[in-house]
Amino acid sequence: MTVMSVPILSFLIYFPLLGAVILLFANRRNAQFIKVFTLVISLIEFAVSIPLFFKFDDAAKTMQFVEKADWFPEWGISYFLGIDGISLLLVLLTTFLTVICVLCSWKAIEDKVKEYYITFLFLETAMIGTLCALDLVLFYVFWELMLIPMYLLIGVWGGPRRIYAAIKFFLFTMAGSVLMLVAILTLYFFYYNSTGVYTFNVLELYKASVPIAKQYWLFGAFALSFAIKVPMFPVHTWLPDAHTEAPTAGSVILAGVLLKMGTYGFIRFAIPLFPAAAIDAIPLMSILAVIGIVYGAIVSMMQPDLKRLIAFSSVSHLGYVMLGIFAFNMQGVQGGIYQMLNHGISTGGLFLIVGMIYERRHTRMISDFGGLSKVMPIFATFFMIITLSSVALPGTNGFVGEFLILMGAFKNNVVYGTLATTGVILGAVYMLWMFQRVMFGVVTKEENRNLKDLGGREILILTCMVFFIILMGVYPKMFFKKMDTSVTEYLAFVKQKSAQARVLEGNTVPAKMAREVANTNMTR
């Protein structure tokens, strides 16, 4: 048996589920055992996922670690898993953040501990499944499956308005995804009518030449579903509520992984399946992304609640990702993907920080703090580093991502690039202002005078985060190397395919695009 034939992705998907099933039978009074057990499961999961990174063949243009089995062949539904350079990094991010989340829930969750960790492991299964699935039905199954544990996490362990937030989250995402399902089915029957084969295999469906008019509808349905998840302006309104009410670990995983499912969905499904429509949608998507960047930043500035502030900053950051993806050039897309990882680390880190301070003070209002840096020096250091990474200081991961995205955006369209750049300034304003109000100055509140500084577990968690912030900031090549081939392939495919669609329809290919297609073909 060669290494490649070990079903490593299936293992990654079902191992947490197995852990959750075992936990079902655990004694609920033995909370310590449940925590340690979950931690061990998530650590094993993380350890198993690391070899993916090193065994991954950078140069290969196809999907790797592929597993394929018939599920329901009469309908063309298969159990088809595989990852490329784009999903590889997200899978790693997921397994990493799960470990962090288990650790950070250690003391924060005291109620219904058993159910909490079961839900969490279940969520991990669904997330990794979504990232690895290459069959549309399989993808949809995992995609919907993610909703239930997240709904429970917010609704059971959340803050005071948790019920409202949980239901809003569920209904928003579900409304988007059912439209996607109609689009999936339409595409499926279209493919059948033109080729006589029933398949939900994405790689096969990429080859379908959908008429442009139809592409608009289908892309619209997919894009709406993913845009809600991202979330893009104006369908972002569920996010601040969900983030604010979710428990710390829920926020971390929501920001770190769940939002990325939206942007990932664009790269894996919406754009390559309907490239011509996607390219025509550049102005719309870019404008919405820019609005998201600026609007998110401005609204953030005015938030009195720390968590809400970070939630709106997510809208802004994800706007960058979308702008990069819709720049359709190497820098933009790579920057977008990189920013997806960055956002997972930095914003995840910020949520951890807020969670830690909340555990001590049971408030998240900025006005309740002030001068904490003198009381909690270690905390202040970590907080500073993570804040700087969020505002994209050179040397941190955020800089690399944002810089590439802006470069890509400028190459594509100077106006979008310029507008987006204002977001960088605004970002620095709201983050640093927040930091100043919370950490500097004199201690104004008596309660804050005797706050305990970070303990060992907390230092460990934040050190892991800071490690990646620095690593990704100073040595990005390590990560870019993994996605170079995939992104090149992806871009070439999208451009060629959309040009082809236009030629088929008798439309003229814009001269600029024709040049680009020729260029990419030559470089290949």
Partner: protein, 482 residues
């Protein structure tokens, strides 16, 4: 000529009829809790035997009794489904009927006669046999609804169902008569041949007849605007009977409807599909939107069952005969999730007290984690969340619509399932997110309930994750139309 060998083909029906009579006699001779238990156990044994005979019929294809009765895979599929429902309801009743003191011989005998009627209804393409089956089924259920004699709402349910049901049956019969009047035929298979030779056929009387058929069947499947009886009857009837009605009657009516329309009336699909398009959209929307504001779980499930009829109608509209299997699959999934959900309702009831207000579910997750988990699975399946059977069912039904290019219908259907998710999740929200309100009643724990819930969960997971076996069975069943 009727030969003795023809009786071999109707062994399940003979079994149920004979066994029902036997139970009636036993019930007449003895009374009390012991008799109730005995009848219950006997009824389970009898239905398992009937299941055995039904399974043996699979693959058989035979016209018996001068073409008045048909044995084919389509009928056998439905027979199997009805008997499965009968077994599950009987097992639930072992305890429930005993608790409510309705579990005499008649109760189980009527359950069997009801299923007998359903089986007759779906196994014939002759109007008269279909009608007789419908009446046998309906009369049994009218009585069953009113079995809680001391309970006003139960009596109300019975009377309401009887009056409206009789009215609807009259419509159905009138429709059949009109079709007979305009064509001279009572047999759907003959009608099919008739239309093949007489294309295009149009007569006012025939069109009216067709409309009346839709009204008659529409009543039994509880589609809007013939649904007004559903919430009251479902709420008032003994809960085991509600489960039985919500699944069995609906499946039987759909079985007969599909057989009649897909055999004979496909040439007129453009005519009736437009009517049913409107019915389906109304059924989905009104069912779901009204369910949103219900605070009583039984009533909510009643409205949700209306909405589910709408989903099935979506596939019906397309008239796609090879994909009619989607409706069969959906009915199967629907039966298991509803019986499961009603079983949970039964478990949480007390004698003489419906106890199905939403508030009594608050904090259930903490009090009875297992029951809450089961209920969550049933609700999520009803909401159509993968990987449960409800998702696969919806996926299949709506893919039929997309294939036939009814895009708007599919979109309306899917959006409706989002609306539906809200009220299903609300129950989950009460169970897990809220603290117990007031003095909670104890759960009525009995092994029978647990068994039924586990069977339903197993079926939902199996049908959802490995749908292949079930889909192939459903596809074989609709093979008769191609």
């Amino acid at each position: 000529m009727i030969s003795a060998s023809e009786f071999g083909w109707i062994m399940p029906e003979i079994m149920l009829a004979g066994w029902g009579l036997l139970l009636l006699i036993i019930g007449g001779l003895t009374r009390g809790p012991v008799a109730s238990k005995t009848c219950g156990v006997l009824s389970v044994i009898g239905s398992v035997c009937a299941m055995y005979f039904t399974v043996n019929l699979w693959g058989g294809n035979q016209e018996v009794f001068n073409q008045l009765y048909t044995i084919d895979n389509f009928g056998t599929f439905f027979k199997g489904l009805f008997i499965a429902i009968l077994i599950l309801v009987s097992v639930v009743s072992l305890r429930y009927a005993d608790r409510e003191e309705i579990g005499s011989g008649e109760y189980y005998a009527l359950l069997m006669f009801g299923v007998l009627g359903m089986m007759v209804m779906t196994s014939s393409h002759h109007f008269v046999t279909i009608f007789i089956g419908l009446e046998v089924m309906s009369l049994s259920i009218y009585v069953l609804c009113g079995l809680l004699r001391g309970n006003l709402s139960s009596v109300e349910a019975a009377l309401k169902y009887f009056l409206l049901g009789a009215f609807a049956t009259a419509f159905l019969l009138y429709g059949m008569a009109m079709i007979y009047g305009s064509t001279g035929l009572m047999d759907v298979a003959d009608l099919k041949k008739f239309f093949l030779t007489k294309q295009p056929f149009s007569a006012t009387m025939f069109v009216i007849g067709l409309g009346f058929l839709i009204v008659g069947f529409g009543f039994k499947i509880a589609s809007v605007p013939f649904h007004m009886w559903t919430p009251d009857v479902y709420q008032g009837a003994p809960t085991s009977i509600t489960a039985y009605m919500a699944t069995g009657v609906k499946a039987a009516a759909f079985g007969a409807l599909i057989r009649v329309f897909f055999t004979a009336f496909v040439p007129f699909q453009f005519g009736w599909s437009e009517i049913i398009w409107v019915l389906a959209v109304l059924t989905m929307c009104i069912g779901n939107i009204t369910a949103l504001v219900q605070r009583d779980i039984k009533r909510m499930l009643a409205y949700s069952s209306i909405a589910h009829a709408g989903y099935i109608l979506v596939a019906f509209i397309t008239g796609d005969r090879t994909l009619a299997s989607s409706m069969l699959y959906y009915l199967m999934a629907y039966s298991f999730m509803n019986i499961g959900a009603f079983t949970v309702v039964i478990v949480l009831q007390k004698k003489g007290d419906n106890n199905s207000d939403l508030d009594s579910y608050a904090g259930l997750g903490a009090r009875h984690p297992f029951i809450a988990l089961c209920m969550s699975i049933f609700l999520l399946s009803l909401a159509g969340v993968p990987p449960l059977a409800g998702f696969m069912g919806k996926f299949y039904v709506f893919s039929t619509a997309v294939k036939a290019q009814y895009y708007w219908l599919a979109i309306i259907g899917f959006l409706n399932s989002v609306v539906a998710a809200y009220y299903y999740l609300r129950v989950m929200m009460y169970m897990y997110f809220r603290d117990t309100i007031g003095e909670p009643g104890t759960a009525d724990k009995a092994p029978g309930y647990g068994l039924v819930m586990l069977i339903c969960i197993w079926a939902l997971l199996h049908m959802g994750i490995f749908p292949k076996t079930f889909l192939l069975i459903a596809q074989k069943a609709v093979g008769i139309f191609s």
